[in-house]
Symmetry: C2
DNA sequence: CGCGCGATTGAGTAATTTCAAATCTAGTGG
DNA sequence: CCACTAGATTTGAAATTACTCAATCGCGCG
């Protein structure tokens, strides 16, 4: 399926747009292709766009002083990714967004997003509702983090991203769960039902 | 200061509204008073409003099967609170929102919020940007959770809510950090600089 | 075939939990 | 003013969970 079609279906799940309106909206998105391992955003970068995934899988992650990686988000097709902290507060990036697999994305600049939100009330609504869901998902993950041990969190993750299991190396899953690779590895046999 | 004035200043930090528009917006908010300990939302409730805090302090928390409490959010004046999962997905509440102190809030029903968002583009913008910030804050907390030990998280919390230290019992702070009361208690002398 | 990376396993250590008991504190009533 | 109680906090000690470091295993690819 074409990028255009994927975005159209994605938007139409939340808002109604005429073909004309959609064409106008779409004209602000810039298609980009990346290879596995390419970084889209790196710490220190000026961040002025967010990315809508068409194909492939991205991750956004923070790297601490000990070079330990913490994954904020995996982004599969129809998910959005960026360094939202940098985007919103207009500061340099503190996280990396890169490609777990070869990927195709649509990039939307901050300026264009604000322009579209100005011009089309329904686009503003789309972004409001999209972030609402993201907010709730983040809190859900927070709860999973506090309430569950590593095993429980792993199960929560597989519920949320069932495809992920086969696509990404286990060490990335560990970095998402906030446990060491070794702990993740031990989960399967140690405390299984 | 009057509730009306507080809300007005809060909105005007993000969007511009004429006095007339603000008066119209404000007419949809319902002032409510609560006593310390009162529950505003309880698990199982139908949730059809969110609450803007004028005075006092609320908390929203999830209680697990072992009756252990996990605090999602403290809400001080000019903060918003509700069960956002229930609100967005139109399901029964799974969290409790209650009053740590006597409190005054302005309640805005879901229907009214959507109506205002329809009628006033700038209100829709307000809610979009507000949730953006909440989303980023939630991810920041997630990182703090994964990257730091109990001590580091405690320091992060005091940076975010410095007033909190004097207002709320320590056990609530523990429930926010996701550690036991005992561990929180031991932090001060154990690993202090 | 052998290199190299990811995944697993083992052993010892550090952080946090649980359960239990001891303290402390604020508010109440005599 | 004092004694008393309920709730909150602190402390102790043992048990658990996850971590780190180190070694080994497994497998795809040149």
């Amino acid at each position: 399926m074409q990028a255009e079609e994927i975005l159209k279906q994605h938007l139409s799940k939340t808002i109604a747009l005429t073909d004309e309106q959609f064409a106008y909206v779409f004209s602000h998105f810039k298609p980009l292709s990346f290879k596995k391992g390419d970084a889209i955003i790196s710490p220190g970068d000026k961040v002025d766009a967010e990315y809508f995934v068409i194909k492939g899988c991205l991750k956004s992650f923070y790297t601490n002083d000990d070079l330990k990686m913490f994954i904020l988000q995996f982004a599969m097709p129809t998910w959005w990714a960026s360094d939202y902290h940098a985007l919103i507060y207009q500061v340099k990036a503190t996280v990396t967004v890169d490609c777990i697999t070869d990927a195709e994305v649509l990039s939307l600049s901050s300026d264009d997003r604000e322009k579209l939100c100005d011009e089309l009330h329904s686009i503003e609504r789309f972004f409001r509702l999209r972030t609402n869901k993201g907010y709730v998902a983040a809190h859900k993950r927070l709860l999973s983090m506090m309430n569950n041990d590593a095993k429980g969190r792993y199960e929560d993750l597989l519920k949320l991203y069932p495809e992920l299991y086969n696509i990404v190396p286990k060490q990335l899953i560990a970095a998402y769960l906030g446990v060491s690779r070794e702990t993740l590895s031990r989960l399967s046999y140690r405390k299984n039902a």
